[in-house]
Symmetry: C2
Subunit: 208 residues, 2 copies
């Protein structure tokens, strides 16, 4: 009767994975990356630590997957409007589309559930080059690729400067939000996201 048992076992396995993800995120938010151990994650998730060792090769791998899962859940909740699962919307109005996705980013960065673990993982990547590279490859680059796609479409539509490299152009939009959030220089608001889009698209130079 394996065929009727499997869905149950797969559901149990999904529940365990989710519990492990949540435990890993909570612990890293509370203690920081280095002081979070596989043992503590297992205890918090109510599973044996052998379960974690069987499914993941390292603590970094558990956390990376926990973040991917969290980002996927967050994108699902935000819906396609926020650019979640379907990339950045393309309504033909570049400024409006960028404001929508940057406002959603502001909301995500200000989400208290995400803040602790995201700060802990980012800080660790700042000092640990190997973890930082994994973080960029698995979590950041896929997000940045969505901007490249949208900006390239704008370029093809004649809305973006032909000589602008979309991979660099996106940094004018994304980096200011990250900078404010990481360094806590000033409040990170929707108005700020809008101002960044307006200044980046229009340029700082005065025109006649």
């Amino acid at each position: 009767m394996a065929s009727t048992k499997e869905p149950d076992s797969s559901r149990r396995s999904d529940r365990s994975r989710r519990a492990i993800h949540d435990a890993a995120l909570a612990l890293v938010g509370e203690r920081g990356y280095r002081r979070t151990t596989i043992e503590a994650i297992a205890a918090r998730a109510g599973v044996g630590k052998q379960t974690i060792y069987r499914w993941w090769p390292s603590k970094a791998a558990v956390l990376m997957e926990a973040f991917l899962d969290l980002a996927a859940r967050s994108a699902e909740e935000a819906g396609p409007q926020a650019g979640g699962e379907h990339g950045i919307p393309d309504t033909g109005d570049l400024a409006a589309d960028l404001k929508r996705v940057l406002r959603a980013t502001v909301d995500e960065l200000n989400d208290p559930a995400l803040e602790g673990p995201t700060r802990a993982l980012t800080a660790e990547g700042v000092v640990d080059a190997k973890l930082g590279a994994e973080f960029v490859e698995k979590l950041l680059d896929p997000q940045l690729a969505l901007y490249v796609t949208r900006l390239r479409a704008a370029q093809e539509a004649g809305q973006l400067r032909a000589d602008a490299d979309p991979r660099i152009a996106l940094e004018l939009l994304v980096a200011p939000l990250t900078h404010r959030w990481l360094l806590r220089t000033l409040p990170l608001t929707h108005a700020y996201a809008d101002a960044i889009v307006d200044l980046a698209l229009g340029g700082l130079t005065s025109r006649p």
Copy 2:
């Protein structure tokens, strides 16, 4: 004979301070912020730990001063051309002035002597809000104020959009460099600094 003794004692005190700064920077680069202790700084600097306790209220205060000292030395070496002691140059050519100062920033961020301790202090500020706020107030804000001054002068000269807030405009210039450096997404080069200035001033929007 106090008047002839004081210069000697003051020179000794300067030497001790510099030794303490250097020890603090080296240790935080090697071990990270949290694992750097006053005791270890004193031992490395060859002073008694009471000397440190007498001069500074906390480990954070020692490090903050060490960074201010390091930044001052680095600015001195770079000379006034790099915008060191005299703020951002104002030759009347805004793009050229910004490229000069952002290229100097690229060199500073790529300086191996600064990298370890700067990463360690920044990472700690990312997870420790109190230290982060001190870092921003004492180290970052004074640097950003130089951009505000230069951008405001450009605005008065009719070169910067009248509706641009200089405090926000500067983030389009500074944040992309910090973003690349902190997250190690792609190489941080002079060509990148130039591209950021050109895109930020000219804007991403295609113009007829």
